[in-house]
């Protein structure tokens, strides 16, 4: 038995999380997030390992690596999700410095830790947008508590570069002056979270930049401006969570806007209601997204010569390709907390893709798929 205690221990601590997720899509010849009409375990299964060293009661260092079968969520594909120093100068302030996960929305910085939420995958309308998952910089949290509430203000600043996908378009990107604020208040069993972030983005697509130059040289300035690859971006979020012993409710709304004509405005939300029959949790979720594509300019005259026709074709194709995925879904699921650190989950989703775009589906050209189908998922989430 321990005979001496201290408030902190000066040592190295290891922990981790793992998930095995199997999925089946009820549709032939179509793929959705890596799932097909045969059971697949690779798309979401992963293991995360974290090491933390506590220097004293104010300083610590943490590293977290994520291994998954297909790819990593870190923008540089290194698998290193977190690598940071934590400084806690007072009881109310915590500062993290280094490589961090982006805390854009309620579950963004722990979206791979399946044990931390009731679903198998957090609603993809909000969590699978074209936003990047990690950044290099600083994050500071100030918390204070009163008799009836607990409040936290968080700010972060940094930069990031890597690869992202906007619809079918994959591109290198750079973001600097990324600046975000999060306000959170807990009153009894209710939590409200409001956040906003801004950043300067630069997409690294030579093809589009060359097109922009050609359009400018031919005086199609509106068209040139509509395919610009540099500009401001911002996102807004509002989330609410209510939990009690018997039931819970979660809702979140987000909007992402940029100055770039080729990156559309996205608004997404989900609403979840659930009941607890310990150790079981049953939940029902509706999620939807609304994508507002900026229309292409009609400056380039058609049918005059083949060069101009080709230019117009290339120009319009960029707008077609960059339309992000938009889908409506109902999900019903159960989580069974078998052990305090192990949960089994099962989920059924009906998916209804927006009829103009691929909507997260990979569809062969000759398919008459109506973008309506069902997804079955089973999973195991473990923390250690």
């Amino acid at each position: 038995m321990l005979t001496h205690f201290s408030a902190f221990s000066n040592d190295l601590e290891f922990s981790g999380y793992a998930r095995v997720i199997g999925g089946y899509l009820d549709e032939k010849n179509v793929e959705f997030k890596g799932y097909e009409d045969s059971i697949k375990f690779s798309p979401s299964s992963l293991i995360g390992l974290q090491g933390e060293y506590q220097f004293d009661d104010k300083w610590s260092a943490t590293a977290q690596v994520l291994l998954r079968s297909n790819n990593t969520t870190a923008s540089d594909n290194s698998g290193l999700e977190w690598l940071y120093l934590t400084y806690t100068p007072t009881d109310n302030i915590q500062i993290k410095l280094g490589k961090l996960r982006t805390p854009f929305f309620t579950m963004s910085d722990f979206s791979d830790v399946g044990f931390a939420y009731p679903w198998i995958n957090p609603p993809q309308q909000v969590y699978d947008t074209y936003l990047f998952k990690t950044f290099n910089g600083i994050d500071a949290v100030y918390k204070f508590g009163a008799e009836n509430f607990d409040v936290s203000f968080e700010g972060y600043y940094g930069e990031e570069s890597g690869d992202i996908g906007i619809g079918a378009l994959r591109t290198g990107f750079e973001v600097d002056n990324l600046l975000g604020f999060i306000g959170k208040i807990n009153i009894e069993n209710l939590e409200f979270r409001v956040s906003r972030y801004n950043g300067n983005i630069k997409l690294d697509i030579d093809e589009i930049r060359q097109l922009e130059n050609v359009l400018n040289s031919l005086n199609f300035t509106k068209s040139a401006s509509s395919v610009k690859t540099k500009g401001r971006a911002h996102a807004d979020q509002f989330g609410v969570i209510y939990d009690n012993l018997d039931y819970f409710f979660r809702g979140e709304w987000i909007r992402i806007k940029t100055d770039l004509g080729i990156v559309p405005i996205i608004q997404s939300y989900y609403l979840t209601a659930g009941v607890n029959y310990a150790p079981f949790t049953y939940h029902l979720t509706f999620a939807d997204s609304d994508v507002e594509t900026r229309s292409a300019e009609n400056e380039i005259p058609l049918g005059i010569n083949s060069d101009l026709d080709q230019l117009a074709y290339g120009y319009n194709r960029i707008f077609d390709e960059s339309t992000p995925d938009s889908i409506k879904s109902w999900t019903v699921g159960v989580r069974w907390d078998v052990l305090p650190n192990l949960a089994l989950k099962a989920e059924f989703s009906t998916l209804e893709g927006d009829n103009v775009k691929d909507s997260f589906f990979v569809i062969p050209d000759d398919s008459d798929f109506d973008k309506k189908t069902n997804l079955y998922l089973i999973g195991l989430d473990w923390v250690f």
Partner: protein
Amino acid sequence: MIFFKFINNIKKTALLFAVACSLLGFSLSVHAENTNPSNVIIVVNTTDKNLSFSKQQIRHIYMGGAMSRQFKAVNLFVGNPLRINFNTRMVGLTESRIQAYWAQMRFTGRSKPPIEFETTEEVIEYLLTVEDSVAYLPTGITIPKELTIIALN
């Protein structure tokens, strides 16, 4: 064709729920056995004999809120009837939700769960050693005079 697919979906969903519901029946009986009707008291190692907490403050101390760095919460192991009683009366969350919350906090580097012990004797020993440590204990237990039983306001 569509009709068959529909029937197939219903079959799969029904199977899922049949399995879930049979497991639910099993779990409810386990849950009932663990419920302990006795009250808990909140004990703190503090020099401030007039210290008092609201139920909300206790909850925030145990759930990594703003006061949790000053006041160090102490827990009994998962499954201890007193812990279930405390979660139900003071925290107002299921053990599953609490465990999920700590997974979130740990892997985002925000805070860590309270220290845990198996017995109330070990809890009291820890309380005596660490200033500003907070624990729940059963009513009727003998509390050393160095520790303060907190009034709830």
